[in-house]
Amino acid sequence: MCTYITAKVDTEGSGKGAEGWFPLTETTVYFDHPVHASADHTLNIDFRNPDRGAGARVAVELTAETARALATAILETLDAVPEGVA
């Protein structure tokens, strides 16, 4: 199904898109049909900068298992950062 579920996160950082690096301002996260991945549904993340146009986007489509593993890895990595660094 088209889930209609979308979360948005204000974002500070940079991404590398089709035309090189650019600053990121927002990220949308949703679970829906992918454009390219070979799955019926995927966890999709768009790292974006709408002020630079719709093409200022870094996109990923991940299987649910991959997305959960990635989320865990992100949190574990952040938790392992020495105090005072992050």
């Binding site: 209609y4 979308t6 949308t28 829906d32 049909h33 070979s38 019926d40 768009d46 974006r48 986007r57």
Partner: protein, 250 residues
């Protein structure tokens, strides 16, 4: 009658007079024929749905698919435009109706149009097909596994970036025959939600024809996805061709 058609990107007048992009398949002879508005699913104006437009051209109809995300990002790559639209919560119902109205007018204006126009949509477009048929003077509508025509989307609460509500208040206004094609294994819409829609359409005295395919779930027409079910898709296409052939003839 020739079987030649031209498939091409065109500009049409959409919601509130805005010029939007659309993908069309236009028969190349003068024999009068009906037209079909194709509504793409939420992820966007993509290759798979353009193939469906061409299929309608092959079947002898004129067809057009408005790019529903053109308003959000004119000129952007379709997947980027879909992402921009998604970030705004998707396609507002009012805008969808305006774009389908413009697409229908485009089809009626073609030199070989017979004046009849139908609408078909898949997934989110299934719901939008019913919405359009409840809002516009159309001659036939097809709903392919559209969720939240009936049912309760409250499970989506907490996700404010959405434009979705069921169509209970609009169903009394359905103004053309409706063909519904569903997967018996689908959960959105569930068999219970499809049965509720059947009951309501019966109650309101509407003309409809529903089929649910055993062994098929959501998106069984989608040839490049694991959900593809060839037997259901083959039978479904035959039913769609027959339905539009009947209701879009002059």
């Amino acid at each position: 009658m020739s079987d030649a058609f031209l498939s091409t990107t065109v500009r049409i007048t959409g919601h509130e007079g805005a010029e939007i992009e659309a993908y069309a398949a236009i028969a190349q002879d003068e024999a009068p024929r009906g037209g079909v508005v194709v509504i793409h699913h939420l992820p966007g104006y993509d290759d798979g749905t353009k193939e469906i437009v061409r299929r309608f051209g092959h079947l002898g109809f004129n067809a057009v698919m408005p790019n529903l995300y053109w308003h959000d990002a004119p000129g952007a790559a379709p997947d980027d435009a879909a992402a921009a639209g998604r970030a705004k919560g998707g396609v507002p119902d009012e805008r969808l109706v305006g774009d389908v109205a413009g697409a229908a007018q485009y089809l009626r204006s073609l030199p070989n149009a017979n004046g009849k126009v139908g609408v078909i949509g898949y997934c989110s477009g299934g719901r939008q097909s019913v919405l359009a048929a409840c809002s516009l003077p159309l001659d036939a509508a097809v709903d392919c596994y559209g969720a939240f025509v009936t049912g309760d989307p409250s499970g989506l609460e907490g996700h404010p970036l959405r434009h979705i509500s069921p169509l209970y208040d609009k169903l009394p206004n359905l103004n053309c025959p409706l063909l519904g094609l569903f997967g018996a294994e689908d959960k959105h819409p569930s068999p219970e939600e499809v049965a509720e829609l059947e009951q309501l359409l019966t109650k309101f005295g509407k003309s409809f024809d529903f089929h649910s395919y055993p062994g098929a779930g959501h998106a069984f027409f989608a040839v490049e996805r694991p959900a593809f079910r060839p037997e259901a898709a083959k039978d479904g296409w035959e039913r769609v061709a027959s339905f539009f052939g009947k209701h879009l003839s002059a």
